[in-house]
Each structure stands twice: as C-alpha cells, then as structure tokens.
Subunit: 324 residues, 2 copies
C-alpha cells in the first residue's frame, strides 16, 4: 500500500496525495476523495521514504551517562514530554560515563540519523569539542556550561556556596567534602570550588585533607566516607556533591554509631523523595530537573527552526533552592 495505489484509487495523481498530507494546494473535491480512500485503507505515508526525500528524521538523539539515576531520569522525562509535544521521537544512548562511547554516539547520531542532539555529558575532552564543532546538526548540552554552545545548566557554584555558608551558620566549623572528579566541571570542580571559597571567606582555615573524590553511587559514598573519616577525625559536618553520595556516607556513619545530624551534619544536592526518607535531617539543594530537560528541547527546536539563518548559541543558567 503506497502513495501510488492511493492516488489510483482516488483518481488523482501521486502529487495530489502528497499535497493532501502536506497541506499544499488541493481542491475540496479531491481532498474529500482522498480522505475517504485514506480512511478506508488506513494508509500512512512511509516515514523512511519521507526521510530519504526530505532529510528530516523527526528524531532527536539523547546521550546520557546512565538512566538508572533519579536526576537523569527526571531530566529525560522532561526532555521526552516536550519532544513528543513537537511530534519528534527520541533515540536514547547510554555511555556509562565512557567518553569513547560518547564520541561514538555523537558521530553516529550526527551521521544524518537525527535532526538534533541533546548531550548530558559529564566530562568534555578536547576531542569532544572537535567533534562538536563539526557536527552537522544542532546540539544542546544539559548540566554543563560550555561556552559557544547551546546549554542549560544549574548554578552549581552559588548553590554550593550558599549551602556551605548555611552549614557554617548552623555552628559547624570542621567540614568535610566528598566530591566527584574535577574533570566534571559542574559537579566536580564548581561545587568543590564553591565549598572551598565559602570555608575560606568565613575564615574557617581549610585543611587540604578534608576532601575525597567519589563516583556517582551509594556504595562509593559509603567507601569514601570511611576514607575521609579515617583521615579526618572529629568532623562535625559533611557536604556531598550529590544526595546519592550522601546516602552512602550516612549509611557508613550510622554503622559507626555516629549520630546524624547531632554529631555530623550531612548535606547534598538532589532533593529526591527517597533521600528525604533515608536521611530526614538532610540539607539538600533542589534543582528543577524536569524543567531543564524541557528547556533544552525548546532551545533545540528553536535552533532547528532558525537552521538556515545564522544560529547563534545561547546559555541558560537555572536557579535553585535549599531544602532543610
């Protein structure tokens, strides 16, 4: 069942049927004839043929480090809702934080497979920037700032500066920090820098050894909390780059019989329902994840529309609030 058959059955030309679907010039008379035949046959134009001809796939490629994560899951849901609203579909790739895979999918997608790409990358190497530069489709980066590219991210620095100040204001003075690798500019570098600055600005001279680096899992939080506590006895507060890490840390503290928050206050970022129950005393930063996903798609749609015209990049920094 193809456009040819439909044309024949309705007594018109292929072009007319095509115009019927793409609202080109067509008389009321023929429109009705075609409508009837289409209804009877349940005919739908072949997406692949359309794609081949028009070069539009109506698909957006989304690249994420993992999907079994509260924050990423919520971003993806935000992305998906707006993607579908606009009649697009989503091609999803998971990189497991493997930069090689990131690059692989980035080029695979841009090989004319999708109309645009959304990248939830974590680490940007020189190679990434080289590939991004030569990308044939518009791209939006979520969660990281990358000058010269469309991106939407949260204000990690001020969020963690405020968070640290809040903890200090509560009378805690010996703070430990569990972060993630500094190559991750947003979650690794910015947050830790803010922590350091806040501690320094308030005259709480900083030790260098109150800092350890974890990965994005509960079990890593557990391990690194042990490591940190063994290096630094008598901390009275622990700030973690994410709630997931904080959850692991608290698990360790509890096992050691250390009372949270009386002896050690714990803070993080994420504000998930799960973490709220796991650590009722948790001080956490709320980011509007769904929203950032939605905004990313809007940005991409804009770039897609402007296409031919000179596309100028746009950065979008989102706010936060602290939940006690």
């Amino acid at each position: 069942m193809n456009i040819e058959k439909i044309a024949e059955m309705s007594g018109v030309s292929r072009a007319a049927v095509s115009r019927y679907f793409n609202n080109g010039y067509i008389s009321e008379e023929k429109r009705e004839a075609i409508r009837k035949v289409v209804e009877e046959t349940g005919y739908r134009p072949s997406v692949q043929a359309q794609t081949l001809r028009t070069k539009k796939t109506k698909m957006i490629g989304v690249i994420v480090p993992k999907v079994a994560s509260a924050s990423i899951g919520r971003i993806v849901e935000g992305i998906l809702s707006v993607i579908n609203e606009n009649g697009y579909q989503m091609l999803l790739a998971v990189t497991q934080n493997n930069p090689k895979k990131e690059l692989e999918y980035l080029s695979a997608f841009s090989e004319k497979q999708v109309d645009g790409v959304i990248l939830l990358g974590t680490v940007f190497l020189a190679e990434h920037k080289r590939i991004l530069k030569n990308l044939s489709v518009p791209v939006v980066i979520v969660g990281q700032q990358l000058t010269g590219y469309n991106c939407v991210f949260h204000d990690d620095y001020h969020a963690f500066y405020d968070l640290t100040r809040l903890v200090l204001d509560k009378g805690r003075s010996r703070l430990g920090y569990i972060g993630v690798m500094q190559q991750d500019i947003a979650v690794g570098e910015e947050r830790y820098k803010a922590f350091q600055d806040a501690v320094h600005d308030t005259g709480h001279g900083g030790l260098a050894e109150n800092y350890v680096v974890a990965s994005f899992t509960v079990s890593s939080g557990y391990e690194k909390a042990r490591e940190l506590l063994e290096k630094c006895k008598n901390l009275d507060a622990l700030i973690c780059a994410t709630d997931t890490i904080a959850t692991g840390a608290v698990q360790y503290l509890r096992e050691q019989g250390i009372h949270v928050p009386e002896e050690i206050l714990v803070a993080g970022q994420g504000d998930s329902a799960m973490a709220r129950v796991a650590i009722p005393s948790l001080i956490t930063i709320h980011y509007s994840y769904e929203n950032s996903g939605e905004l990313a798609v809007h940005m991409l749609m804009e770039a897609l529309a402007e296409r031919e015209a000179k596309t100028t990049s746009k950065e979008m920094k989102l706010g936060y609030y602290i939940v006690e």
Copy 2:
C-alpha cells in the same frame, strides 16, 4: 557524497561498493581501491536509503510507563546494553501509565518505524490485545505474563508467598498490605493474591480491611499507610508491593513515632541501594532487573532472526531471592 560518487572515484560500479559494505563477492583488488576511497572521504552509507530499500530500520522501540524509577531504569539499561551489542538503536517512549498513549506508540512504532518492540506495560486492556495481535513486528513484553506472547517476567506469586511466610515465621501475625491496582496483573493482582494465600494457608484468618491500594510513588505510600493504620489499629507488620511504597510508609510510621521494625516490620520488593539505607531493617525481594532487560532483547533478536519461519512465542519466568 553518495555511493555513486564513491563508485566513480574507485573506478567500479555502485553494485561493487554496495557489495563492499555488505560483504558480497568482490575481488581483493577492487576491495582495496574502495577501502582507500572510503577512508579518504569518510563516506558512510545513508541509513535512510538503506532502510527504504531493505525495510530494516535497525531500531527497537521501547515503551515504558516512566523512566525516573529505579527498577525501570535498570531494566532499560539492561535492554540498551544488548540492543547496542547487536548494532541496534533504541527509540524510547514514555506513557505515564496512560493506556491511550501506550496504544498510540504501539501503533506508531509498528508503522514500520522499528524492527521490534519491547513493552513494559502494566495494564493490558482488550484493546491492547487487539493491537498486539495485528502488530507487524515482533514484540516482547517485560514484567507481565501474557499467554501467547513473548514475555519475560518474575515469579511474583511465589516471591510474595515466600515473603509473607517469612514475615509470619518471624512471629508477626497481624499483617497489613499496601498494593497497587489489580488491573496490573503482576504487581497488583499476583502479589496480593500470594499475600492472601500465605496468610490464609497458615491459619491467620484474614480481615478484608487490612488492604489498601497505592500508586507507584513514595508519597502515595505515605498516604496509604496513614489510611491503613487508621483503619487497622495494632498491625505488627506491613507488606508493600514495592520498596518505593514501603519507603513512603516508613516515613509515615516514623513520623507517628512508631518504631520500625520493633513495633511494625516492613517488607517490600526492589532491593535498591537507596531503600536499603532508608530502611535498614527492610525485608525485600531481589529481582534481577538488568537481566530481564537483556533477556528480553535476546528473545526479540531470536524472533527477528526466525521472522520468515513460523514464530512461536516463548515465556520466561525469572526467579528471585529475599534479602533481610
């Protein structure tokens, strides 16, 4: 840059270039000439043209109720890893438990957009079965049993039977149950039935009012726990259909000053790192989610391979273990 140009540059025919990529007969001599030109130009065959010609999209459609969920996230990750191994890509759709959307995507995908579909449905209406019947591509259902279709699911009945027995064996006798809607056969009906049977089989006469129905969120678990506790005073154990619900329930219990597990023992299903920290005493059932996703893809690949031949459906029931 198309196959024609490459053929010209290497001094061969289009057919030869096509054969080069699809390992058909080709002399070593020409193979080398083509290889060189391909390398120089960085040419890659157009996926859309291939698709149009071969009718193979190399894409799998995956339909899920939501993605910001620990269990679903893990299943999706399992699916994705095997999908990519086999050179396929994943088209993801989220239905928000809306059956209308499920049907919509199901037909959209089967409209020749994908080579196969994986469905993580929850509720199957008559309409679903009608559409499934007429689907033009193979489908695998994950998490639910549906006779006559390829499906991979866990043994919900025995898991919850054993779980309930275990709780009873620990000397608890006044059990409450927080489930989900019974239209969800696996999570709603099977689990509750097993709970009832276990209670009945051991002579712990069952009240009908020790049962409430929640949705799949922490906050719903909280609300329904309140509702249940108000109906049934002096319960000494609470079994929840999922750990997410259990987490919400425990939040309520703690706020009421009820000690877990001393006064009320709580059990669920999921075994996530988060829940483990939130409720250290939680008794939970472990399902191998990643594995079920992987198996689903293998099943689909098999169906894809057999295609022409008569495709006979296959059911796969996976085991579990209980974590204390």
